[in-house]
């Protein structure tokens, strides 16, 4: 696959929770190294899109298609999607009592490495990489020895998501409000990490309402999700317009 072909291709995706259809024909494509910002009112289906792509069992795909690197994403198990290169940062990452962060991340990283035919990282090498990555995003070493997200603040949880992103180096990352709960240093770390990974070829779908961060990310495209589909797309000007007029006003402008 060359860089002009999308690494992620979502075509008319319909997703339901129970009997309620949340996504009703969402379509988007991401090329390697590209960045799309997904905006939309609360309840418009932004998180649903990420969770459905990742294979959350509560989110039932009832129509459409999604391909990752040309392969049928929707036919894969949750872990196969992750191993194929899809990373989802959670809006509210769960805690896992009793499982140390470094053990959890190393186990995950080695599962991904094994699927790629790479040798597993031993504890020593992993710790070196994890400490370096943690330092770059402002996560203290001590967080590696604590249970996953257990007792972490909102910002610490998000930094921990970034740590996993930095170590897993996915092909496509969907970051769901990664900036929420972050202080200014945290947001700066988000931007720096995304910029670095983009340069290495990772494509990003960023869900955010935070204009300053969106501007710093220099997105290739801004998408507005409404009524379960991409209602509008444009450049950074669309993000400015939404910030100025709000989602209700934006909907009137384009007659959705």
């Amino acid at each position: 696959m060359n860089d002009t072909q999308p690494i992620l291709d979502v075509d008319a995706l319909h997703v339901a929770i129970g009997e309620r259809e949340i996504l009703r024909g969402a379509t988007l494509a991401l090329r390697p190294g590209s960045l799309a910002v997904l905006m939309g009112a609360n309840g418009s289906g932004k998180s649903t899109l990420g969770l459905a792509l990742a294979g959350h069992p509560r989110y039932r795909v009832v129509g459409g298609a999604a391909r990752l690197g040309g392969a049928d994403l929707l036919a894969m198990s949750v872990e196969a999607r992750a191993r194929a290169g899809l990373f989802l940062s959670f809006q509210a990452p769960p805690d896992i009592p009793g499982v140390k962060n470094n053990l959890f991340i190393r186990t995950a990283l080695n599962a991904v490495r094994e699927s790629r035919g790479e040798a597993p990282l031993d504890a020593y090498d992993f710790l070196g990489q994890a400490r370096a990555a943690g330092k770059s995003i402002g996560l203290p070493d001590s967080m590696l020895g604590r249970p996953v997200n257990d007792g972490f603040s909102g910002g610490e949880r998000k930094r921990n998501e970034l740590l996993q992103l930095a170590l897993l180096k996915p092909k496509v990352a969907v970051l769901d409000e990664i900036d929420s709960g972050m202080d200014v240093d945290g947001v700066r770390a988000v931007v720096e990490l995304i910029t670095r990974l983009r340069a290495e070829g990772t494509a990003f779908l960023i869900v955010s309402h935070y204009l300053q961060m969106i501007e710093s990310l220099s997105p290739d495209v801004v998408l507005r999700l409404a009524d379960g589909r991409i209602a509008e797309q444009g450049g950074i000007a669309l993000a400015h317009e939404i910030a100025r007029t709000g989602y209700a006003r934006a909907a009137q402008v384009v007659g959705v």
């Binding site: 959670f90 995950a108 990283l109």
Partner: protein, 399 residues
Amino acid sequence: MAVDTATGDALAARHTLATGGWIARKSESFRHLPPPAVDVWLGGESEHATLAHEDGWQLATVSGTPPDAVIAQRLDATDPAERATLLAGCDVVEGDEAAAFVWAHRALLRRGLRLAIGAGESFVRLDRVALCRVEAPLLVLDVAEGAHCVLHEAHALAHAAATVQNLHVHIRLARGARLQHLRHVPAAADGQIAHHVHVTLAEDAHYAQALLAVGGRYHLQRHVVRLEGARAAARIDGVLLASGQDAIEQQVLSHHRAAHTRSGAEVLALAADASRVVGNAWTQIAERCDEADARQKLVGIPVSGHPRLVLRPHLEIHHDQVQAAHGATVGSLPEEAIFFARQRGLDASAAKALILTGMARAALSRGVDDEALPDMLRLDAALADAVGSHLAIGEDAHG
């Protein structure tokens, strides 16, 4: 014909069993998981006559423990004088619903280990191997005033086919003594195990037990804690893993007998297949126990299949100025955490095993003072191994 007092004691125990009978099916403590009949615990003569000179306990002290901190006596219960020494202070309590287990134990008792833990810091490891098919081991532990001890007790029963073991442990903590007691009891699928741990605490004494109990056709872990001195504190944290046709019960009976005493009982039961698990916590706070504090938390999680989980918290309070809380929850697997782990690349069974191991670790670590202790004892490896094999059995059963 004259008999010596040791033989007489054993015969008297058999007589008491014969006349008093075995544990009644309607017994409140045992009604959800009635123990196997008395004959199982007594066995035939050929089943417990071997290795009469061994007691099965392997004792080791970890470096840093002063040489004179632990005094061990290996005593022969068939010798009248040694039997008297061995059983000194191990009296049968009036009205004990498990008294029949005591008589069965006395009838079969051959040898026992008595340990005296001196003042200062000590770290003791006790490993026990089953010596014969039906046995009644005994451990008596006296912890001196002000002593701080870590005791790691591990049983090698998982590969001892069809073992029947009626173990009694008596622990007495003198004023201000502290004991952290980590117990690992993996039973074979056809093993029948009954462990009775009796703990008595003087004032300001602290006792904490972390128990990992795995498997067994019948597996009872019964803990009776007597808080006799003011400000004494005890907590028992148990993780029970059951699968296949396993039947496991943990009973924690706490008696508050003095003011400002604290007790805690937490049970985490992870059950799969057609197993049966009972968590039974009973706490009694006597009169005049000002500011006593009692907590009970029983959690059961069906991991797969259709296990039967019974959780029974019970408080009996005879005084006003106390704090007490109890709770019992049959929950489900943390599906969001499992999805999260799978999203990071772990397959479903690895994610489940990692998360259940973590839950077990968290449960066992809560009562341990020293954060480094679980690592030192390689608790994670033991838990991962136990949970892994536990889940593997669960998956095999479902093809």
